[in-house]
Symmetry: C2
Subunit: 328 residues, 2 copies
Amino acid sequence: MASRRCIGEFELIARYFAPLARTFAGAGGLESDNAYLPADGRNDIAVKTDTIVSGVHFLDDESPERVAAKALRVCLSDLAAGGATPLAYQLSLALPEQWEERWVAGFARGLAADQRRYGIVLCGGDTVATPGPLTITITAFGQVPRGKGLGRGGARAGDDLWASGTIGDAALGLRAVRGKLKGLGVRDRKVLEDRYRLPRPRNALGIHLIGIARAAADVSDGLLADVGHIAAASRLAVHIEREMVPLSAAARRALAVEPALWADVLGGGDDYELVIAVPPRRAGTLQEAALQARVKVTRIGRFAKGRGVGLTVGGRATPIPRTGYVHF
Amino acid sequence: MASRRCIGEFELIARYFAPLARTFAGAGGLESDNAYLPADGRNDIAVKTDTIVSGVHFLDDESPERVAAKALRVCLSDLAAGGATPLAYQLSLALPEQWEERWVAGFARGLAADQRRYGIVLCGGDTVATPGPLTITITAFGQVPRGKGLGRGGARAGDDLWASGTIGDAALGLRAVRGKLKGLGVRDRKVLEDRYRLPRPRNALGIHLIGIARAAADVSDGLLADVGHIAAASRLAVHIEREMVPLSAAARRALAVEPALWADVLGGGDDYELVIAVPPRRAGTLQEAALQARVKVTRIGRFAKGRGVGLTVGGRATPIPRTGYVHF
């Protein structure tokens, strides 16, 4: 208790956050009210805000390093989907009344590690007390060539739908955390849990997407939901072949035990993979970029005239299991 | 209860927030993961994040319109202090479990009104559920000439300290709200309460400050604290003459009844006036700008070599009553 009273807001910033902002000239050492982001006539700044709440978006007992990583990476994942190169971020931290300094220290360590990993740097923010749970808002900035940033709209009929990495691991991992994943070995459960607890955003791939993709999104609400968002924004239908959806070995074993888990795999959120609309003639360029980024990409479907998301299993239409994470 | 179940996140955005973002091309109708902020080689984008929590930064029973105004204006006030012209903002809204659609509607109305008033526009954000109190984070963007954005550092010995408007009304207003302001008429109490409930940021003045001011801050933590931040960041001392501090008629009457309230006037937060370091030779230019902005400015002190904040009453040094709002 003593430790939380003997440090004020300004010391907290000076001790934990100002070092993170040191290399960003426009942050002014976090001592000024504004941060000034340089930008030139050739670039746009991509901006993304995400809020995560303890007990809602991460487990209450999660380590501060992982909470920091999650808060930052959910934003980085969106920058990746936009084709943007990470630049800087603002952090708002609403700390519950019983906060401890060592928690904040661990949180700052987690941020520092990810700053190095993803080439992003703190440039300002706010810290407040809350009678509620720990709440973190990050606004991340990335750079893209002027007018070229990717969105959900822009896919055309005939474009292929690609997915990065493997799909469904995070949803199965959440089940594992809750003790609701039976018949799997300890190691498989651990792999899936890790995927839920710690997003691995695809920025290494994302920075190559400009000029290749017509539209993209990250899988945060669930594969079907997020692909559905691209289709809706592009005023198209999209058809996904379930057998093409890339799965981890652990997910494949979980589905062998309990095929009903397909609903989780296709509908569950938090994978933080990319789903990408690419004209067929650019398939080779995408695969080269993926090779360079050391990320697997898999063609899982195609956009067509019409509306909605169609799912086929072995070529036969099948009902959509559910429509993704509902925020309220 | 029915109303909060029949509207999802995407509808909520489409119905209440997308209209606010309509005129900002880079927002993509809030349908894309990123917003793209255009900027050119002659300008910097000033960025400011502020979080407000129900029961902490505003009263639980405050109207949604006023909550919206407060959330936006605390950021606008910082842009004003930076000399920045408001451009756009990101909004994160953490809604408590019992949220109601009509509350969100009122909140959006409040935002719409201030968008018109201050020439700023929503460009993206996030909405989440929280088991805690309503929590709002806004990241606001403004434009300043490249490298010219004002901060707390930069004041020089010999610069005058100026304040806009009147000081201390918000702190007295908070007392009035709590029934702790005796011997004042209803009208005076109302004036002071209004100043607490609804910040009136000085953006009309702020946009003129580049080329006039060397440093500036807004009074959010309290006059002495915020002036102290300028002095500390500029590695200077600052001397304030209490008789020069501009007061409203209501505040003057409150102080006549209870002189001990000077502690609130000088130490209390939430005034959202500007404190500005200006070389003496630019006093005329500042006053012209203030006239144009229809804001009163008053010279209240001077920066000098040394450290710390000095307060004089009738020319005699007096102890500092308290050092401003403590965030934890």
